[in-house]
């Protein structure tokens, strides 16, 4: 058991910091305030990800066969920790390298790999995920968007909602259902995954004004949108297997606590400058927020450690997700109470953190679903009977 970093890992962290120092512009804090799906961050993500690609840092964890370097899990995680601490300047492209690419490598056709991987490798691709619908959020299997089989492909009709990055995305990783009357297999097996060009006729994207920043959530309407059969991802009936695989990549091991910790450090520095650090109640609450950040860190490390040792994924990730939500909120609550002017223009980074923290338990599925998973799969408690 070892809680320290090897010299190689330490050196890697120093290098990542140097790259960030060189690449982040002086007005990064202002850019980051607009939110990861904003036009500003989306545009900057192409600068940042291109720079990471030039440095060999963007997809270094991918297999060599796909342009990566088979980089060690902990080195890749250190990169993620440093990027999150900086406010995740990869913007919407974080998901390209975290799960779109890896899922593509596992399930995509040769033609799909040729088409979609190069822009991801170059740091120039923007994807959105068409999962949630007005009546299917955390209960993803209830989705209703239809994909009617037609000659040469599918016609898609339906609506998606809460879709991050949709306004500027090139491609949508869309889940839709083939109706049973049209040959669909029924239930989860009727779901197909389609890679949809967002410039296709019949797609309308409407931004939803929100508390969490510009460009982060949208409604996306599909009206008889034609998707060629070559853009179906995986076989019919295989979608749920693919979704389960990608959710394992999407939802676990994200070092959100690193950003919370940085914002907490900034908040404490401000409180000191304001002469408020002498108040023991301030130090108490800061220490509490710190403890929640460190708890989240160590539980996320537990997941990464499993990956690094090639252990099969387990449901511990559900506990770590809860710890992460706790950490984000502990820091946010502390700063909102003791530094309210941070939300009144005094600190753009605090504002950006606030907007991420309030979505921490909602984005990527409600945290309460994670508690269900933890209870039933990690603690082996019986399922609540369905009514």
């Amino acid at each position: 058991m070892e809680f320290g970093w090897s010299p190689d890992e330490e050196a890697h962290r120093v290098r990542v910091r140097a790259v960030l120092h060189r690449t982040l512009p002086a007005d990064w804090e202002q850019i980051s305030m607009h939110g990861p799906g904003s036009a500003e961050q989306t545009a900057f993500s192409k600068v940042m990800c291109a720079a990471l690609a030039r440095e060999g840092l963007l997809i270094s964890h991918w297999p060599r066969a796909f342009g990566g370097e088979d980089e060690a899990v902990w080195r890749q995680f250190i990169l993620g920790e440093e990027l999150w601490e900086a406010g995740e300047p990869r913007g919407p492209q974080y998901m390209n390298v975290n799960w779109v690419g890896p899922v593509m490598m596992r399930f995509g056709t040769a033609a799909q790999l040729d088409k979609y991987l190069p822009p991801i490798r170059a740091g120039q691709a923007v994807w959105c995920q068409g999962f949630s619908e007005p009546s299917a959020g955390s209960d993803l299997a209830a989705l209703r968007t239809e994909a009617l089989p037609v000659e040469g492909g599918y016609r898609v009709t339906g609506a998606k909602i809460w879709t991050s990055y949709a306004g500027l995305a090139d491609t949508c990783f869309l889940l839709a259902r083939v109706p049973v009357t049209q040959g669909g297999l029924g239930g989860k097996a009727a779901i197909v995954i389609l890679l949809v060009d967002m410039r296709s006729p019949g797609i309308q994207v409407k931004q939803i004004p929100s508390l969490i920043g510009e460009g982060d959530i949208h409604e996306v309407f599909f009206d008889q949108v034609f998707v060629p059969a070559t853009e179906r991802f995986g076989a019919e009936g295989q979608a749920w297997e693919i979704i389960s695989y990608l959710l394992q990549h999407e939802r676990i091991g994200i070092p959100r606590y690193a950003f919370s910790r940085r914002v907490l450090d900034r908040g404490v520095a401000r409180l000191k400058r304001l002469g408020r650090w002498t108040d023991p109640s301030v130090r108490d609450r800061a220490g509490r927020a710190l403890a929640y950040c460190e708890a989240a860190r160590l539980l996320i490390y537990r997941i990464v450690d499993g990956k690094a040792r090639s252990l099969p994924p387990d449901d511990f990730a559900a506990l770590a997700r809860w710890a992460t939500v706790q950490a984000d909120n502990a820091v946010n609550d502390f700063l909102t109470e003791f530094l309210p002017d941070g939300l009144l223009g005094a600190d753009p980074v605090q504002q950006a953190h606030h907007q991420r923290a309030i979505a921490a338990g909602i984005a990527s599925g409600a945290a309460e679903i994670q508690l269900n998973i933890a209870a039933q799969r990690w603690l082996d408690l019986p399922r609540e009977p369905r009514r």
């Binding site: 058991m1 070892e2 809680f3 320290g4 970093w5 890992e9 902990w74 450090d265 404490v268 520095a269 000191k272 650090w277 023991p280 130090r283 108490d284 800061a286 220490g287 509490r288 710190l290 403890a291 929640y292 460190e294 708890a295 989240a296 160590l298 539980l299 490390y301 537990r302 990464v304 450690d305 499993g306 690094a308 040792r309 511990f316 559900a318 506990l319 809860w322 710890a323 706790q326 309460e368 994670q370 508690l371 269900n372 933890a374 209870a375 039933q376 990690w378 603690l379 082996d380 408690l381 019986p382 399922r383 609540e384 009977p385």
Partner: protein, 303 residues
């Protein structure tokens, strides 16, 4: 970074399991607030588990692993102070059990009835009181440790110097012990809610209960890893963070675990109190959660 046990650590814990199996008393049958286990304690001393931090090839992390495991037992055995605190103060390994208190010498202390030495955290100084021949008054309480009070406060006091080492190691000891108590209490309640039925289904099938037990599990896991990291680093920041986090979890955790056992959990017959009332004892040590969390803040960002 590596969360797996080394071969030596796994071997230590395997050996400990065998020792527990061989020397544990029979399961408690009499309704009492605290149970000791003299034969197990003697075996732990004899086999060197309590002195493992003093061994050349081992250290605090191994001592914390041993402490956490033994805290999951229903018996109150003085482990944490001997294994994690005394070695840092260069106290002879034979001088045990070790009792800890802060403030006045006559503050009630865990294990004082049988202790050979009392370590006192007073102001910013660490003190030592040898207890051979001392008069100790037993203190009866709900808290599931044997408590005593030093009746003769005029005994000679040795000054060990700066309190930082004592406080830091006490925090690590507290965190490791609390993590073990939490894990055992949670395991007991999980078993209870799987088997106890109400309204035609197991209690554990109710989502309201599942969610709070999942939160409890997160608190237990986080407490454990924070404690182990603190033992690994032996740093002020990690020690205060681990102890403060664990103490901050105790009120909600103990409330929930008792709540899910209903009136049964309020009886001495049901063993839950053997862990929850040790946790409540630990909650009040070193000034409570706020003192540790302020300590963590000061160690991280200065004063």
């Amino acid at each position: 970074m590596d969360y797996s046990l080394t071969a030596d650590q796994a071997s230590i814990l395997d050996g400990l399991e065998q020792l527990i199996e061989a020397h544990s008393p029979a399961a408690p049958t009499q309704p009492r607030t605290v149970y000791d286990a003299p034969s197990l304690e003697a075996a732990l001393v004899e086999s060197g588990y309590l002195g493992i931090a003093r061994e050349a090839d081992f250290g605090l992390l191994e001592a914390a692993l041993v402490t956490e495991r033994l805290a999951r037992l229903p018996w109150a055995v003085e482990v944490a102070a001997s294994a994690l605190v005394a070695p840092a103060l260069r106290i002879d390994a034979q001088l045990r059990p070790v009792a800890l208190c802060s403030g006045n010498l006559d503050t009630p202390a865990r294990f004082l009835r049988t202790a050979q030495v009392l370590l006192v955290l007073r102001d910013e100084e660490a003190l030592l009181v040898r207890l051979e021949g001392a008069k100790i008054t037993p203190v009866e309480s709900l808290l599931a440790y044997p408590y005593g009070r030093l009746a003769d406060c005029s005994r000679p006091v040795e000054h060990l110097g700066d309190a930082r080492v004592l406080r830091r190691r006490w925090r690590i000891a507290l965190a490791a012990e609390a993590a073990g108590c939490m894990a055992a209490a949670l395991a007991l309640v999980l078993e209870h809610v799987r088997n106890r039925h109400a309204f035609g289904r197991p209690l554990g099938a109710f989502q309201a209960i599942q969610h709070r037990l999942a939160m409890a599990a997160e608190a237990v896991e986080a407490s454990r890893w924070l404690a182990l990291r603190a033992a690994w680093s032996d740093s002020e920041q990690d020690a205060a963070t681990a102890a403060g986090f664990a103490q901050a979890q105790i009120p909600q955790l103990t409330y929930d675990l008792h709540q899910f056992c209903g009136a049964m959990g309020l009886t001495l017959e049901f063993p839950l109190h053997l862990w929850t009332y040790r946790l409540r004892a630990l909650l009040g040590e070193l000034g409570g959660a706020s003192a540790q969390l302020r300590g963590a803040a000061e160690a991280t960002w200065g004063l």
